[in-house]
């Protein structure tokens, strides 16, 4: 109980509507939480209206009660429902208040009476309404008893359902609509009654006085209606997640919290996939311009999502991507439709006739393609067959499924098209069946094969960020990633990086001496290596040395017990020169000449083959040897290759359909296939992939017999953007162990490269000058793509900081460029950095992998020296 109650509110004090869902009102601790939140809003000087759902599980129990034909069973069901409320009151140590007792008597009467008197639907609506009537009565008692005097308001006296054309009795009673306009009379009436109120979500009353329900998302919609009626300062939706995200966190753990949206964007996101809000609950707020705030009940300190009318000056940005699965397309092709009056009307009449609702439409002169959402009618009746038969009479029809609609949402989508080239290129590799861009300029939708979606979404999300289309660098709009808020894996905390604190002074000193310089931090290499050694499922780890061949790094990893994977004789020689004899070596070249193999077979390295040619033409070289076969799982992995290594489009690996031929050749030459190898690609953060590759390799190995180990490659992702989650090593181990349990007789090998060394290396350079060009500001440093080609080659994003001014406020927006005479010599674009001075030391992070090894003498600029910190 608060010792000093807040001062009474004046007339005209603003309203805050707070809505709490079923789990938020089901237990005493949750109600204590509500009480705290309500008092804090009251303390802000606002009147508070709390809108509640029924206790979790009660609405379902009431529906089951309604479905019981037997009176005895209905009464039993009633008793169980009453008991839930008694138990909660018991925890609260409160007696049953008369307000609740009255509701319980009424519900008992309805259970006794059955649907006969009121009619099935009206009775059912009234029975279900009791869930909220009871929870709100209970809540009023609890809040009042704990020092927050709270008035109980019957929502049905405030929300009047309107009659709409084409409504039937069912929709009228079970998914009613309310027209909510600011209502000063209600406002005045409530002001007379008190300061804190509680009412019911989900219910209203229609013109004949019957209780009606608001249908799905009903409680949120109630809160919006009240927000509009009272012209509230804001409506707060308290739920189990902090708000809307840039993608479905289940598909994209790196999805970022959206902190600000306008109504239209939010509605678009809600209707294309986000489950946190029902799309209908935003429209009541739009006209009275009442903002909505989504908050996490368990984590009230998180910012949440504000949805309002305000369109502040922000760079246009994609706000979210979503995927809706289970979509069926119907493509209709006919010259007959060209300039034919009424053709489309006739076609659509067939859809109506077969009970199929059309969502997206794209049309050209001779083709119309529409999408159908997955409904029971679509899946389990002959509706599609019947529709196709009817349509086939007037056009060529093709039914394309299963598809998924991938939608990018953001205000001003058309103005962002130029930033999407990489993203569009990605779609270019897929079967895109339909593209739709709404005229409200809020969305861009691609319909693709459903099978690609799970892989595609995280990648698209990443690409949108990398392309600067999803401006996660704008911290006013975008909050933390879902992974960092709710996930189990560790997130990259920028403050943790070795160069930021521990070694900053050393680096500044090194930078003052000479630049450009690569600096490698061996403790970080060892830390990463030890982390990978926690993968208990893996029997042998090899460092893929092409990432960085510095002898000190090779030695450090040999010290950690790693083997080494080399792709050329040069790499093998470099490794053999520094690592002990006992360190295992792999030789995994691609399109290597005959003499490379011959030489490698003279060393202790295990040699890999990935095509028929060497055995067909140089069989003698391999006679009697044991080799590793690198396979391309091709489309066996489905979608994945298309997206990443492209099946036949990739030059690596033996296609699985040539396996038998390879084995026959191997047999002919007495070559034993001892290991199978497949490599996914790089930068993969989703652990499931390795499980898939592993089990696919194992099932192939079972057909071969001689195989003793499976090498699932590397590609372990290293997140680059702050707030992105790192690979969950424990989850990876669990996935691998599961596969291993099924195939215990194969050893498991891996070949990580970048994961071990990327974070351990930085490139330091010095500022040489600045240039302004229009609104663009270029910051020149003394090295560029000659030292670090990844940004130019892969569009890679490297964090860039001004080490000399690390703590200064980042006010300038720079294009960070090098001195190479190429327009592609941009190390980072649109970087927020402090105002820089000539001579400042600039640090480019994550340069430990594919940095120095890919550098070139281009323009004959001095190469970056390498420094080791241990």
């Amino acid at each position: 109980m608060t010792s000093n109650a807040p001062a009474p509110l004046s007339a005209g004090a603003p309203w805050i509507v707070m809505k709490f869902g079923g789990t938020s009102v089901a237990t005493l601790p949750r109600w204590q939480n509500i009480r705290e939140l309500v008092s804090s809003r009251r303390a802000e000087g606002a009147r508070v209206l709390v809108v509640v759902s029924a206790l979790t599980g009660i609405t379902d129990a009431l529906k089951q009660l309604c479905a019981q034909e037997d009176k005895g069973k209905r009464i039993e069901a009633y008793k169980a429902i009453a008991q839930r409320h008694y138990e909660l009151l018991d925890h609260m140590q409160l007696p049953v208040p008369e307000t609740l007792a009255e509701r319980l008597r009424e519900l008992a009467g309805l259970a006794e009476e059955g649907p006969a008197v009121l009619g099935e639907l009206a009775w059912s609506a009234l029975v279900q309404a009791h869930g909220e009537l009871m929870s709100s009565a209970l809540g009023a008692t609890f809040l009042s008893h704990t020092g927050v005097p709270t008035q109980w308001v019957d929502a049905r006296e405030c929300l009047a359902a309107i009659a709409l054309p084409n409504q039937n009795e069912r929709t009228k009673l079970l998914s009613a609509m309310v027209e909510a306009k600011p209502d000063p009379a209600l406002n005045a009436r409530l002001e007379q009654l008190g300061e804190v109120f509680i009412t019911q979500g989900f219910i209203a009353r229609e013109s004949q006085g019957r209780t009606v329900l608001l249908g799905r998302g009903g409680s949120d919609t109630s809160a919006s209606y009240f927000g509009a009626l009272l012209k509230a300062q804001r409506v707060e939706i308290w739920t189990d997640v902090a708000g809307m995200f840039t993608a479905n966190p289940r598909q994209v753990p790196g999805a970022r919290l959206l902190q600000k949206l306008d109504y239209e964007e939010a509605q678009e996101i809600a209707s294309t996939g986000a489950k946190v809000l029902h799309p209908r609950c935003l429209s009541p707020l739009r006209e009275p311009r009442v903002p909505m705030l989504i908050k996490d009940t368990n984590r009230p300190e998180l910012e949440g999502t504000v949805i309002g009318p305000e369109v502040r000056e922000h760079a246009p940005s994609v706000k979210a991507i979503s995927a809706r699965k289970g979509i069926t397309l119907v493509s209709m092709e006919s010259v007959g439709m060209w300039q034919q009056v009424g053709f489309l009307a006739d076609v659509f009449a067939h859809f109506k006739q077969h009970g199929l609702s059309v969502d997206l439409i794209s049309s050209a002169e001779t083709n119309v393609t529409v999408s159908l959402d997955p409904t029971e009618n679509l899946l389990d009746s002959d509706a599609v067959a019947a529709l196709a038969s009817d349509l086939a009479k007037v056009c060529r029809v093709k039914v394309i499924a299963p598809c998924a609609a991938i939608t990018m949402v953001g205000r001003g989508m058309r103005s962002m098209l130029h930033t999407l080239s990489g993203v569009l290129a990605e779609f270019g590799q897929l079967r895109v069946h339909l593209i739709s861009q709404s005229s409200n300029n809020l969305n861009l939708t691609f319909v693709v094969d459903e099978s690609v979606v799970d892989e595609l979404m995280p990648r698209l999300h990443e690409m949108l960020i990398a392309a600067g289309a999803l401006r996660t660098d704008d911290s006013a709009l975008f909050g933390h990633s879902w992974q960092s808020l709710y996930g189990s894996g560790e997130t990259v905390m920028a403050a943790d990086a070795w160069w930021r604190n521990e070694c900053r002074d050393r680096l500044l000193a090194l930078g003052a001496e000479a630049t450009p310089r690569y600096v490698y931090h061996l403790p970080t290499v060892r830390k990463q290596a030890r982390e990978l050694k926690t993968l208990t499922a893996v029997d042998r780890m090899h460092y893929a040395v092409k990432a960085n061949t510095h002898p000190a790094i090779l030695r450090a990893l040999a010290g950690e017990g790693f083997g080494f994977e080399c792709v050329s004789p040069g790499e093998l020689k470099a490794v053999m020169a520094v690592v002990p004899e006992s360190a295992p070596l792999l030789f995994t070249p691609n399109f290597a000449p005959r003499e490379d193999y011959a030489w490698a077979l003279s060393t202790r390295a295990t040699v890999s083959l990935d095509s028929l040619y060497p055995l067909e033409h140089w069989g003698e070289v391999f006679r009697g040897r044991e080799i590793v076969l690198r396979v391309d799982l091709g489309r066996g992995l489905g979608h994945h290759e298309k997206v990443r290594t492209g099946g036949s489009g990739s030059k690596f690996g033996l296609p699985v359909d040539q396996l038998d031929a390879f084995l026959r050749l191997a047999d002919t030459h007495g070559v034993a296939v001892r290991g199978l190898h497949a490599h996914l690609g790089s930068g993969i953060l989703d652990v499931k992939h390795w499980g898939e590759v592993y089990s696919q390799l194992a099932s192939i190995a079972e057909r071969i017999g001689s195989v003793a180990f499976l090498d699932i490659g590397g590609g372990l992702g290293v997140p680059s953007h702050p707030g992105e989650a790192s690979l969950d090593i424990a989850a990876l181990d669990e996935t691998l162990r599961k596969v291993k349990a099924a195939y215990p007789y194969y050893q498991l090998w891996m070949e990580p490269g970048r994961y071990l060394v990327a974070d351990a290396g930085v490139l330091i350079a010095r500022v040489t000058q600045q240039k302004g060009k229009g609104s663009w500001r270029y910051l020149g440093v003394d090295t560029g793509m000659n030292s670090l080609i990844r940004p130019a080659l892969y569009d890679a994003w490297h964090e860039i900081v001004n080490l000399s001014r690390l703590d200064a406020e980042a006010t300038a927006l720079y294009q960070v460029v090098g001195p190479i005479c190429e327009s592609g010599d941009v190390i980072g674009s649109d970087r927020r950095l402090p105002e820089a001075q000539e001579g400042d030391v600039v640090l480019i992070a994550q340069a430990g992998a594919y940095g120095k090894v890919m550098s070139s003498p281009y323009n004959l600029r001095d190469e970056a020296e390498e420094i080791i910190l241990d």
Partner: protein, 449 residues
């Protein structure tokens, strides 16, 4: 330590011994004088053996030993076979000679071997008909092996339908099969089979490798289980087309599914009647039916759609997505997709597989093989070519399918070469009268048709 053995150069395959204690059967084999290879079969919660069943159990266990040996024998395919407990009567020797020859026919074909004249189990010369097993009055209940695919679901559901008492049984630890078995709602029995670890070593040493008739091994395991736990019938779900040969090779029929065929069913069924128990029936409930009749029956069992899979590639790891159960590349995926298509709404079928295999041109060769167009039937448990052609023809007549890449290709390229009169679906839906289903279960046949 003995010298590492060269599997392909071995001279004798020896059936060393078979023993049973506390629910574990140990089956021991050896090549030449090499180390013993010991396979273990674990029967969970084993009841004590009643004295009247002891003899039958010993006979079933011996057969399991002789049949399961095929996994090891094939590693070396030596010229001589020895059985430590003496020569076999003619009926037993005939069964095994046939099984080893026909069951390994594909293995032989793939490895370029000829096993004719090579396989000869030792015989005592005791003629068939001399052995008569008594009736054991086994409880009237059925073991229904579950394989995770559509067939065993249809069999299990048919027995449920006629109110038969049954147990869903499977060998091994496939999570997919376990999920399917659970979905039946029947009591469950999961038997574990552990191959001798030495077999993997032999493989590494260059053993012959390839397909073995695993249904025969599982059948023998279930015969032991039926005696142990008390079941009067074992009802497999092997369909009519399992009896059709995949190809002929140098005068020999090669059938990938030989041990699922009617010939083996008759051999084993007779053998069990005469050597184990006169009242132990071994049959296939689906024998009278074509694949298409079975897929039609399966299409009604919606609750299994998200757990079953007939794909052989992705078997051991179970994930939630269709791609985790259906590789979409193999003949099984192709065939089940094609055979279900005439009987399910298209969008529903596509949710099962997660993709449309018939709208993917890169799969043309796979479907051609099923249709026996340009190619022989694949080495998989799939339907007959004519059956696949009937299903494809049915789709080619349906507007919702006929524009899909491979259906359109069928219409323009393959159909003109075919006699439409031979392409009707209906004849395939008629059951044949050839089966060994015991009286007690015959009502289930009507439930499937």
């Amino acid at each position: 330590m003995t010298q590492p053995i060269q599997p392909r150069l071995t001279q004798v395959f020896r059936f060393v011994r078979a023993s049973y204690a506390d629910g574990v059967a140990e089956l021991a084999y050896a090549f030449d004088q090499g180390e013993e290879l010991i396979e273990r079969v674990r029967f969970p919660a084993p009841p004590a053996l009643t004295p009247e069943r002891k003899h039958a159990f010993a006979a079933a266990l011996k057969l399991l030993h002789l049949i399961a040996g095929i996994s090891y024998y094939k590693a070396g395919v030596p010229p001589s076979i020895e059985v430590a407990y003496g020569p076999l009567d003619d009926a037993t020797a005939n069964l095994l000679d046939d099984l080893y020859l026909h069951g390994l026919a594909e293995f032989a074909y793939r490895n370029g071997l000829d096993l004719r004249g090579r396989i000869a189990f030792p015989r005592s010369g005791e003629p068939p008909g001399k052995v008569e097993a008594p009736a054991l009055h086994l409880p009237k209940r059925t073991l229904v092996p579950i394989g995770g695919g559509k067939d065993s679901v249809v069999a299990a559901e048919a027995i449920k339908r006629i109110g038969g008492e049954a147990t869903a049984v499977w060998v091994g630890n496939s999570p997919l099969i376990a999920a399917c078995a659970e979905r039946t709602g029947l009591p469950l029995l999961n038997i574990q089979r552990e191959l001798a670890p030495g077999l993997f070593e032999l493989n590494r040493l260059g053993a012959w490798n390839g397909h073995i008739p695993v249904t025969a091994v599982n059948s023998a395991i279930l015969a032991v289980a039926a005696v142990l736990y008390g079941y009067d019938s074992i009802a497999f779900a092997n369909e009519r087309s399992a009896s059709a040969a995949t190809l002929e090779y140098e005068g020999q029929q090669v059938n990938h599914q030989w041990s699922k065929g009617y010939a083996f069913e008759q051999l084993l069924s007779d053998w069990l009647h005469t050597h184990v128990a006169a009242d132990l029936d071994y049959c296939s409930l689906l024998r009278p039916f074509s694949e298409l009749a079975i897929t039609r029956a399966f299409a009604k069992h919606t609750p299994y759609f998200d757990v079953f899979s007939s794909c052989n590639r992705n078997f051991k790891i179970l994930g939630p997505k269709p791609a985790d159960r259906w590789c979409g590349q193999c003949p099984k995926c192709h065939f089940v997709f094609l055979a279900l298509a005439p009987f399910l709404p298209k969008p529903r079928l596509l949710t099962i597989f997660g993709r449309n295999l018939l709208d993917d041109e890169s799969q043309a060769a796979g479907f051609d093989a099923l249709l026996e167009y340009h190619d022989h039937k694949p080495f998989e448990c799939v339907g007959e070519g004519a059956e696949a052609r009937a299903a494809m023809y049915a789709l080619s007549q349906r507007p919702e399918w006929q524009e899909d890449a491979l259906v359109a290709r069928f219409r323009s390229e393959i159909l003109p070469q075919l006699d439409v009169a031979q392409l009707a679906l209906e004849p395939w839906l008629q059951p044949s009268s050839e089966h060994r289903v015991p009286k007690r279960l015959q009502a289930a046949l009507a439930a499937i048709a």
